[in-house]
């Protein structure tokens, strides 16, 4: 469905130090620097897949999404989405995709979202009955019925983002590029948007490419991740495999009914968090069963849970340990 081959993107950026003198000097002599946003990035995504783009700020994730959606031209390399080259911006291609940018909006600012929906229906040349049915379905799923008649500028950030999703999905795209779709939303709203994206993917079979700074989004939605750092693809594969490779351990979180005996916890694993009646231990994955059994036998446990280490920690360790020039790994 989506194929990128040796994708490179280099930006030419004007640089100057701060200050009046530097400003005057830059009038006569401008200094430019080349920034390599993507370097030989290759990957393929199958129909219906949900893939997360991960990486620190400025890694090249958004650049990749913009190239895939045809907004940017790659400096070299090639990309196809379906049978289309995105940069040709063929009408059929634009009908097939959508790009939701958490920091950019397509809703008309001073008019109610319903006006944007009506405009998109016309621009995408959608049959009225079909578009009305899709709009109703999306509006119901995202629970924005009472909002779509209010001017966009009077909606909260979360309300706007949900309406953005309706506007972006009205033409039922088969490929969703989502760039920080939950940015600025509260936890419950994030969960709702995530749930909505998963349901859309499952019901329509659309491919989803997602970038997000909220690891929860990626962990909850994307079985596969592509990690980009300094423009280089450094991992492409299963999220759990990456987690196991970086942190081959589980986290056992225990709540106690009374204080455990001193030293008992240390025998089970290394303690990563501790309060009076709660402790979290890091335990090698192979020893989890034994550790849980021992904890239940020896400690005053009121509640116990076993989880993977947080994705934030894994990514921090993974990206912190990468060589500067990047290196391609795959699972």
């Amino acid at each position: 469905m989506i194929r990128a081959r040796e994708l490179c993107k280099t930006y030419r950026v004007h640089r100057r130090p701060p200050g009046l003198l530097a400003a005057l000097r830059s009038v006569v002599r401008r200094r430019y620097e080349e920034v390599r946003a993507l370097v030989d990035v290759s990957f393929a995504i199958a129909p219906g897949e949900r893939v997360g783009f991960l990486g620190p700020n400025g890694a090249g994730k958004t650049t990749a999404l913009k190239i895939l959606s045809g907004l940017l031209y790659p400096t070299s390399g090639s990309v196809t989405v379906g049978e289309f080259v995105p940069q040709e911006r063929r009408s059929e291609f634009l009908h097939m995709i959508t790009l939701v940018m958490g920091q950019k909006q397509q809703l008309l600012w001073d008019l109610p979202p319903a006006e944007t929906f009506a405009m998109n229906r016309a621009l995408f040349d959608l049959p009225r009955r079909e578009a009305d049915a899709t709009q109703k379905e999306l509006v119901d799923l995202l629970e924005v019925g009472p909002l779509i008649g209010k001017p966009t500028r009077q909606l909260s950030l979360g309300e706007r983002m949900k309406c953005e999703l309706v506007a972006a999905l009205l033409h039922r795209p088969r490929v969703l590029f989502l760039d920080e779709p939950t940015i600025g939303l509260d936890v419950s709203m994030q969960a709702r948007v995530r749930d909505f994206i998963r349901r859309y993917n499952e019901s329509t079979g659309a491919s989803v490419l997602l970038t997000s700074h909220y690891m929860e989004d990626v962990a909850a939605l994307c079985p596969r991740v592509i990690v980009i750092d300094k423009g280089h693809l450094i991992y492409d594969g299963d999220l759990r495999t990456l987690a196991r490779r970086i942190r081959p351990e589980k986290r056992i979180t225990m709540h106690f009914s009374s204080l455990p005996a001193p030293g008992e916890l240390d025998r089970l694993g290394s303690c990563v968090a501790r309060s009076e009646l709660q402790a979290t231990l890091a335990v090698p994955a192979a020893q989890v069963t034994e550790a849980v059994r021992a904890a239940l036998g020896r400690l005053p446990i009121s509640d116990i849970s076993v989880e993977d280490p947080p994705l934030e920690e894994i990514m921090q360790e993974f990206l912190g340990g990468q060589p500067a020039n990047g290196r391609v790994k795959s699972a």
């Binding site: 045809g70 031209y73 009408s91 790009l99 950019k104 009506a118 621009l123």
Partner: protein, 277 residues
């Protein structure tokens, strides 16, 4: 191959025709959201009135060329009318969209962004026409016998010249706005354009009152076809034959600007960095 492109072109044209009423409707709704700005903008259009006061005072002692007091009144009221009806804000909009990256959502829709922009700008014309209708009455008083009200042919040329002026200005603004993909100071370029337009379009002074070499040069430049030519046609300073010829020249400028707009747009898309987000 050419059949494929021909078929695609026809399909795209049909698509635009089907989508355009919706774009106009949204533009109309949007314009009502900005009605206060529209009134403020109209109030800033006072330069022709200032020039009218100045030149009618000059003409009190006798006509200047073909212009007596009533001719000056008719000329500057016509200028105000054409300026208001053909005014566009595309260059500011486009420059901002390119520099801030907000052009991106428009590029993701299967219709050229300039179609959407044109609808937004055209949607403002009916309300502007209503607001300037008192001007038409004064114009009728000042130059009733010169207005082409009973000459359908001249009336059609005047209307076409005003429509052409709107389109020419729109395309020139599209060209200069698109330059924002290449240079940081596209609006400064437009300031230079406005300076030249003020003189060479007849906005400040009727071209025939300028030194002959300036008025002659102005006939080979696009500025006159944005303001001076439609005004001269409207108030009867151009004969029907001459106006028809000038209309042809205006069409040539429009065609040239259209080709330049499309070529520059194509090049600008390669440069567009979709900054922000």
């Amino acid at each position: 191959m050419s059949r494929r492109f021909g078929g695609e072109g026809l399909r795209a044209a049909r698509h635009v025709l089907r989508a355009y009423p919706a774009l106009l409707r949204v533009g109309f709704a949007d314009m009502f959201a900005y009605r206060a700005e529209l009134v403020v903008w109209l109030l800033t259009m006072n330069m022709p009135l200032v020039m009218m006061a100045l030149w009618t005072a000059v003409a009190a002692n006798g006509p200047v060329g073909r212009f007596g007091r009533r001719e000056f009144v008719a000329y500057y009221l016509g200028m105000l009318l054409v300026r208001i009806l053909t005014g566009s804000w595309l260059v500011w909009e486009l420059t901002m969209e390119i520099r801030h990256g907000t052009l991106a959502p428009r590029l993701l829709r299967p219709i050229h962004p300039l179609w959407a922009h044109s609808a937004m700008q055209l949607a403002a014309v009916p309300l502007r026409a209503v607001l300037v209708s008192p001007l038409v009455l004064i114009l009728y008083w000042a130059a009733g016998e010169r207005l082409p009200l009973h000459e359908p042919e001249r009336m059609a040329i005047a209307v076409a010249a005003i429509a052409g002026a709107w389109l020419l200005l729109f395309l020139i603004m599209a060209i200069i706005g698109t330059l924002a993909a290449f240079v940081e100071s596209a609006l400064s370029i437009f300031d230079v354009w406005l300076g030249a337009q003020a003189v060479l379009s007849g906005y400040l002074v009727p071209l025939e009152l300028l030194p002959p070499w300036v008025s002659h040069a102005a006939r080979y430049l696009p500025f006159r076809y944005i303001l001076g030519f439609p005004v001269e046609t409207l108030i009867g300073l151009e004969s029907t034959t001459s106006a028809l010829h000038e209309l042809g020249v205006q069409c040539l400028f429009i065609a040239g600007s259209l080709v330049a707009t499309l070529a520059l747009w194509r090049a600008a898309l390669r440069r567009f960095a979709a900054f922000g987000g």
